[in-house]
């Protein structure tokens, strides 16, 4: 069953926190993964794979470069859950 956007955001924030130590409340929809959260490409790939596991979705490699902000990722995951 698809999760609400807020639930996806909360789950994603936990994944980001686990990988980087960034506080969950700092992971907000408008934040850029690289410019605001200072997440490098290696951490980003780990976050993507963990998000796939957590939300049961597939995030193709070519899609990852389009996930600029946290909101982009939440929207993609929400849509992919259908």
């Amino acid at each position: 069953m698809a999760l609400a956007q807020s639930e996806v955001l909360a789950g994603l924030a936990e994944i980001v926190n686990d990988e980087t130590g960034i506080a969950t409340e700092a992971v907000q929809l408008e934040k850029s993964f690289t410019d605001d959260l200072d997440i490098d490409s290696i951490s980003m790939m780990t976050i993507v794979v963990n998000a796939e596991d957590k939300f049961g979705v597939k995030i193709p490699d070519e899609e990852v470069k389009n996930l600029i902000t946290v909101g982009d990722a939440v929207s993609f995951i929400t849509a992919a859950q259908g």
Binding site: D18, E19, G21, S41, I42, M45, T46, V49
Partner: protein, 412 residues
């Protein structure tokens, strides 16, 4: 040596303690860091050796989860030891371009490599962590330290099995004498208490099988010795030119006066029974130190507790020192710590330095019946070393026929 090199900081995490002081106190108290492994994989894989010297303080209790996540356990130990050494040295202000790292490992990131292969087999290539390569590479520990202290004068890794970290310390000498470098963080680490390395060392019958009494299993020079005991952890030294240390008012533990590396070209694992290569390494280190053999009062021996290795080292020492060997206090500290492989030389260098500074040779435990073929003056309880200028050496030998010896002199 052109300019003197001094030790200004020490750090360690070992089976005896999470830092240098707790390790040293436990060593002097004659404690053993060896215990039965409680991990489920021991039974699952029917590992024939069920004990080891595990780090007394798990790295996860010291590092943040995010630091630990990006570092193989070997690098985690390395970072803990290096941070202690760096703080102990007073966090020296040094130009990054004149700060170097010489940091060793015997095996490298074996946990990372094998965990990643398990992940590949069970979950496919996409689940292999992107950090796998930097975590498993053997220069990973050195690189982690170099990033932590902003060392831009070169970060290198000696890999010569169980001689690795002594070789790294010897390599630091040439860096410091080049005139290009003021400070080097040197040492080594290992985190090999994983079912595969244990099974592999057991397969070559290198490990003690004393599963019933782990604390008595590492027993160098004893007639009942039956192999070494794996240990894990790390040691780190801050080495600098005397000029640099004095200019910043640093406390000085001891002087690093010599370091030599030779090779046997005899057999891939067996030591040269004549001890020729090991003897050459000792002599070269003493020559660098401008020392006479009579100056040596203490040896921290390699002494892993294998039947042939302990005798081969004795043969080499007798070859070098002749009758003077009988006047040298010999400590085999692997009896307490187990064998940290690529980290062994680093923690034993620290023991040698502290023995000189505190004028106390640490004990060798489990020596119940000394092998008559090894008539050394083995220290079995803490022993006072002479006053005045004194010199000590620390030996490390490794599979591949590697011999590495470093020499320290007391500093007043």
């Amino acid at each position: 040596m052109s300019s003197k090199i001094v030790v200004t900081g020490v750090g360690a995490t070992t089976p005896l303690g999470g830092d240098v002081q707790s390790t040293w106190r436990a060593l002097l108290a004659g404690e053993s860091g060896i215990s039965t492994l409680e991990q489920e994989w021991v039974a699952r894989y029917e590992i024939p050796v069920t004990f080891a010297g595990q780090a007394k303080v798990p790295a996860s209790e010291v590092l943040t989860p995010q630091e630990a996540k990006r570092l193989d356990p070997s690098s985690q130990f390395a970072l803990i030891a290096a941070r202690e050494a760096w703080a102990d040295a007073g966090s020296p202000e040094v130009q990054p371009e004149r700060l170097a790292v010489e940091y060793a490992t015997g095996i490298g990131g074996v946990w990372t490599l094998l965990d990643a292969f398990d992940t590949l087999k069970e979950r496919g290539p996409r689940r292999v962590l992107p950090m796998t390569v930097p975590m498993l590479m053997p220069n990973g520990p050195a690189a982690a330290i170099g990033m932590d202290i902003a060392a831009r004068g070169g970060v290198r890794t000696a890999v010569s099995a169980c001689a690795s970290s002594t070789e790294a310390i010897a390599n630091a000498i040439t860096r410091l004498q080049s005139g290009e470098i003021d400070v080097v963080v040197a040492g080594g680490c290992e985190a090999g208490i994983h079912p595969l390395p244990i099974a592999a060392f057991a397969a070559m019958h290198a490990l003690s099988r004393n599963n019933e009494n782990p604390a008595a299993a590492s027993r160098p020079y004893d007639t009942a010795r039956d192999g070494f005991v794996m240990g894990e952890g790390a040691g780190a030294l801050v080495l600098e030119t005397e000029e640099h240390a004095l200019a910043r008012g640093a406390k000085i533990y001891a002087e690093l006066v010599g370091g030599s590396v030779t090779s046997d070209a005899h057999h891939i694992t067996a030591p040269d029974p004549e001890g020729t290569g090991a003897a050459r390494a000792v002599l070269a280190a003493l020559k660098q130190a401008n020392a006479k053999i009579e100056d040596v009062v203490h040896i921290n021996a390699h002494a892993t507790s294998t039947p042939v290795g302990d005798i081969a080292e004795y043969t080499a020492l007798r070859r070098v020192f002749g009758d003077h060997l009988d006047k040298i206090a010999v400590s085999a500290t692997k009896s307490s710590t187990g064998h940290l492989l690529g980290g062994a030389g680093a923690i034993e260098a620290i023991f040698t330095i502290l023995a000189l500074k505190e004028r106390t040779a640490p004990p060798t435990i489990n020596l119940d019946n000394q092998d008559p073929a090894i008539p050394l003056d083995v220290v079995v309880s803490p022993r006072k070393l002479p006053d005045g200028p004194i010199l000590a050496i620390s030996n490390s030998f490794g599979f591949g026929g590697h011999n590495a010896v470093i020499a320290f002199r007391s500093y007043n």
